[in-house]
Structures are given as C-alpha cells and as structure tokens.
C-alpha cells in the first residue's frame, strides 16, 4: 500500500516535470510554429540563473521564482529580435539558427562556468509515506507545475494579451489589419516561452544540478511531448505529459531507467501512428 502511494507520487512527479520542461517549448512551437532547438539551453540558463544568484547570497526562492524566469525571458526577447524575427515562416532556417544558438550557449557556458558543479540538497526536507520516505521538494515541483499551467490557461483565455496572442497566431494579417502590433505580440510570446523554460530549469536545478550540456537530457523529451500533444499548446502538452510520463515512470519502476526511456519513445511512436496530428488533433479540439 505504501509502495503504491510512493509509486503514484513518482508517476505524478514524472508527469509534472515532463509538462514543466515542455511548456515553454509548447508556447514557442505550438503557438508560433518556431522550432526552438535551443530550448534545452534555455532550461540550462534557467538553472544557472538560480544557482549563481544563490551562490552570490540571494534567497533561493526569489532566485528561482523571479530572477530565473525574468532573466531568461528577457534573453528570449533579445533572441527573438536578433535571430528569430527575420526567419518567421522559414522553418528549416529557424532550426539551423536555433541549433547554432544552442551550440554557442553550450560552448560559452563550458568555457566560462565549466563542469565543476556544486552539489546541493533539495530544500523542504523529507516526509514519510508509510514506510517510505520522499523529498518534500517532489511535492513542490508538482504544485508549481499545476500553478504554472493554471496561470497560463487563465492568461491565454481570460486576458487581453491572451486574446491578442491567440488572434495573432491564428491569422497575423487579420490581426495586424485590426490594429494589433503583431511584432510586439511575437516578441512577447517568445519571451513568455523563454521565461517558462527558465522557470522550469530553475525549479529542477536543486534536484538534478546544472552542467552546460544538461539541455541534451531534456530537449528530446520536450520535443516528443509537444509533438505528441499536437497543435494546442496547453491541452496538448498536459495530455501528452500524462500519457508519456505515466509510461516512462511505470516502466522505469518495473525495469530500469534505460528501458523507461525506450518505453517513452515507443509510446510516442504508437501515439503518432494512431493520432498523426497529435492528441489535440483529435481530442480536446478548440481548447488552449
């Protein structure tokens, strides 16, 4: 019984962390159709944006929840202006450009920060689930993912910015004709995606540590989640995270982490064979 509870918590945690690392990419790819190959490095920058301030004496929670998303979001706006904007509509070119950005960021952080990572213990202590012990931080990750998803849903559905952003993504020419500054909306949406990636990287940093190549651990999973989810950023990411996270973690429990990863990939292939345009191509249509 205790083990079942522990298992359940780990599955929910896997779903939450998968959704968290994917949501920034989902906003950028799902809404803007820009394939951001530097997504993993945005997560990595988020990690450093919490670890470096903490080492400099800042409060952990302020660094994680404010400094990291803000700084990576601003970085995203700069990237949009300098690299992405001239390439809208040219998918292959954005892949190349963001891949180059990814290599550049890995190179720069390798050369300046190196691989001497500081070990740390996740905050919030531990608690007992029957005979089992689980880190309190696991529940924090689950909670923050829920909060981020809810805020994003309300933001897109209920605010003026959300309306303009959705309108611009659906039909940029019409939106511009109605007086929307689409350039600013694109920049803000890209910045939002980057900020969400920064937050995700920051939230995971106390558990997994940060090294310059850590993006590679996340990027494949994030892409698979977003693509399996389909066209709708939020509902797609959440539904794909539920399916893939459950498969991944359940198989990891039964076998090993390697087989768990394989199972995730197999599940994604089957999913895309049955639902070629992703889960939200068939289900939850018309949601955000």
């Amino acid at each position: 019984m205790d083990y079942a509870a522990y298992f359940f918590i780990q599955v929910v945690y896997a779903i939450a962390s998968l959704a968290l690392i994917s949501v920034g990419l989902a906003v950028i790819y799902g809404m803007m159709r820009v394939i951001n190959f530097a997504h993993g490095e945005f997560l990595m920058l988020g990690g450093y944006a919490v670890i470096l301030p903490v080492q400099a004496g800042f409060n952990l929670w302020i660094s994680m929840l404010i400094i990291a998303p803000l700084s990576v979001g601003l970085f995203g706006i700069v990237v949009e202006r300098l690299i992405i904007r001239p390439l809208y509509g040219r998918v292959i070119d954005t892949v190349l450009a963001t891949w180059g950005l990814s290599l550049l960021l890995i190179g720069l952080t390798s050369a300046t920060l190196g691989y001497y990572q500081e070990g740390s213990k996740p905050p919030l202590g531990s608690l007992a689930i029957g005979a089992y012990r689980e880190s309190g931080y696991t529940f924090f990750v689950i909670g923050i993912t829920f909060a981020v998803m809810t805020a994003l849903y309300l933001g897109l559905k209920r605010t003026r910015f959300g309306l303009l952003a959705r309108g611009t993504m659906q039909n940029p020419a019409m939106a511009a004709g109605l007086g929307v500054n689409t350039g600013r909306i694109y920049a803000a949406t890209f910045g939002l995606g980057a900020a969400l990636s920064g937050l995700a990287g920051a939230v995971l940093a106390p558990i997994s540590g940060v090294v310059p190549v850590i993006g590679a651990t996340y990027i494949a999973k994030a892409f698979i989640t977003v693509i399996s989810g389909g066209a709708t950023a939020l509902a797609g990411t959440m539904s794909a995270a539920v399916v893939l996270g459950t498969v991944n973690q359940a198989v990891t429990f039964m076998t090993t982490p390697v087989v768990g990863e394989v199972a995730l990939l197999v599940a994604a292939i089957i999913l895309l064979r049955l639902l070629p345009s992703g889960i939200t191509g068939r289900l939850f249509r018309g949601s955000v």
Binding site: Y3, Y6, F7, Q10, Y13, A14, S17, S110, G114, Y115, Y116, Q117, E118, G119, S120, K121, P122, G125, S126, L127, A128, A131, Y132, R133, E134, S135, Y137, T138, P206, I207, S208, G209, V211, V213, I214, A216, T217, Q249, T252, F253, T256, P257, V258, G260
Partner: protein
Amino acid sequence: MAINRRHALAATAATIAAGVFPRSGFGQANTIKIGTIVDTSGPLQPFGVQKLQCLQLAVEEINIAGGLLGRQLELVTYDGQSSDQSYAQFAQQIALRDRVAVVHAGLQSSSREVIRPILRRANTLYFYNTPYEGGVCDRNTFCTGTTPGQLLANLLPYMINKFGKRIYVLAADYNFGQLSERWTRKIAQENGAEVIASDFFPLDVNQFGPTIGKIQAAKPSFIINTFVGPGHAAFYGQWAGAGMKKEIPIASQTFGEAGEQLRMPPELSEGIFVCYNYFEEIDRPANVAFLERFRKKFGNNYGYVSDLGMSEYVGIQIWAEAVKKANSVDREAVIKAIESGVAFNGPGGMIVSDPRTHHFVFDMHLAEMKNRRFEILQSFERVQPTNPSGVCDLIANPTTNQQFEPKL
C-alpha cells in the same frame, strides 16, 4: 586540436638556438615526447584537469632533475573532450604523426578500449593510469590504476562485516559499471553475501526518484555505487533530500575522485565508505612534500588530488624508472625492464610492478567521509592485482590480447 602550441614553440626556439634547423618536426632529436589524451573539457573535465596537472607535474620534476638519458621530456597534449570519437582520432595522430615514445591516456574504460587497439597496432607503448574494472591483458599496455581485486576485495568485506549481507548495486551503464557489478557479485559470493539488485544508469541520468523507491522497498544492508560524472552526482542530493542519509549506508567505487566532496555540503557526503590507493589525507612526509609542490605549481584552489590523478603521476614515474633501467626509450626495452621488476616510492606508498599482468602492487586504504575529509580507518599493505581466475600471464603468453572478465 593540439593544445601544446606553446610547448612546441618553445621547443622550436630551443632547436634554433642550438644551431640545428630541422624542417621536419620540432626538436625531435633533443626531447623525448610523451603523448597524452585526457578530458579537459566536457562533463569529465573535473577528472581530466586533475589528471593533466599530475602528468605535467611529473614531467616537470623529471626535467628539473635533468631529464631522462640526458634528454628533456616533452608532453604532447590532446583534449579528449569527453568523447570517445576524439580519442580515436587523437590516438592515430599521436602514434603516427607525433611518434611519441609512450602514451599516457584515457579516463573512461570506453575510451581506453578505443585507443588500446590503435596503439597496439602502431607499436606505441601505452599506459592507462586510471582505477578501472580490471582484467586487461595486453603486452603493449600497463595499467597503473587499481583493479576490483584491490579495491572491491577490501571494501566489500568491510561493509559486509559491518552492515550485513544484502547489497544493492548502482552503476554507470558502460563496461566499467557493468564489469564492476559482476566483480561485486563474485566478491559478495566469496564472502557469503548477496547482491539483491543492480541498477545501471547512462551517464546523463540525473533523476533517481524510482531508484530511491526501489531501494527503500528492497531494504539492503548497504549500497555500493559505481557512479561516473556530474549527472550521477545528483544522486547524493536526492538521497539526502528523501531523508535516507541515515537509513542505509553507502560505499562507493568512485566517490571523491573528481574532488566532488569539496563542492557539496558535508551532510550529503558524511559516512560514505571508499577504498583507494591514494588520498590527500595520507599522513606521510613524501605526500606532504608532493602536495606542497602541487600547490606551488597550481595554486591553493586546485581542488583535490585523488587516486585518479595520482595514478597519472605514478604512471610517468614508473615509466621513467623503466627507461632508466633499460637505458633506452625503445618500446621493447622498456617493457622488458618493467617485466623484470620496477618500483617507485610514490607519495602514497611503494608501488611495484607485477610482471605477469602488467598491473601494479599497491598499499590500499579504507576510508570514511567525515566532514569533507577522508578519515583512513584501515590500511592493507602490498595488495596484489589479482586478475580474474589468475589467467593473465604475459610472461608465459606474450601474445595475449584480451580483457578477462570475472567468472560467476
């Protein structure tokens, strides 16, 4: 990319000054070239930098003492970039273009198995200076790191006596981790204990939630890990974060070899058991003097010299002893010299060659982590590099070329 341009320029300048002007190569006539490939960038950087520093210090000390056979040593350095592909390319260059007298290279067992055949084919003498899973039996190769017969064979009986007979293994998912796990099972069996479960992790795995759950369900007497690199280091934080630190003790085949104990809060590392042939904490005049020279060259913030770095220092010194004995840098002469018995009194203790296996006899020390320092609990003198089933004998069968694995 060779990163030895500065040395090369200095060597060129020296040759010109000497009035010789060879078009081919830099001062080949004067210096003895030693080739090295270690990972000074990428995830293995904390290991590679330490290894390179130890190589540089050994070469510098020999040069200050007058060099070998009246010639100065020159280190030709390549950065393996934490990638086995780079090793393949640089091993070819070192053997065929640089034409070095000896190669001291490799960190991961996977990179060793990439370059060992290349160097054997090119008749270039090879030293692998890293504690590893043991069993390499190749006349062209000498291994100056410890083997499981030296490390696990002393660490595991201690853990079994102290904590119990149920062992949980966590290991890196490549030949080092896989073969170490088989050694653990074999040694456990010999000591009446049992490996109840083994989990293997690719180097980029950094989430251990399910594993920590499985360990709690299995209730082992202790854990033995063979973790490699920064991804796996995240385990210690997650283990402590789940409140397991005081519940189940941990022994490690690798902890501290990247100096990671200095970069994590003591509460994460407290009470981890290890067994190596060298620690900075070894209280010996030769070691104090070594660390003083090391600090003088690399500053006070160099991190930590572990058995991993020390193996490189020892590798160069053993090779130098053999060259002196053979009075030649010729491959065949040096191999014969080591096979006839070579010893080096290193900072950590006396090191003696084992002619049959091309491995070495060390003093081993068992230690426990106490407030970021290794406290040595017990020492074992003159530990032989037992090879699996005692099958490797390069004196009787010089053509052997394989890696023997433990029989279960």
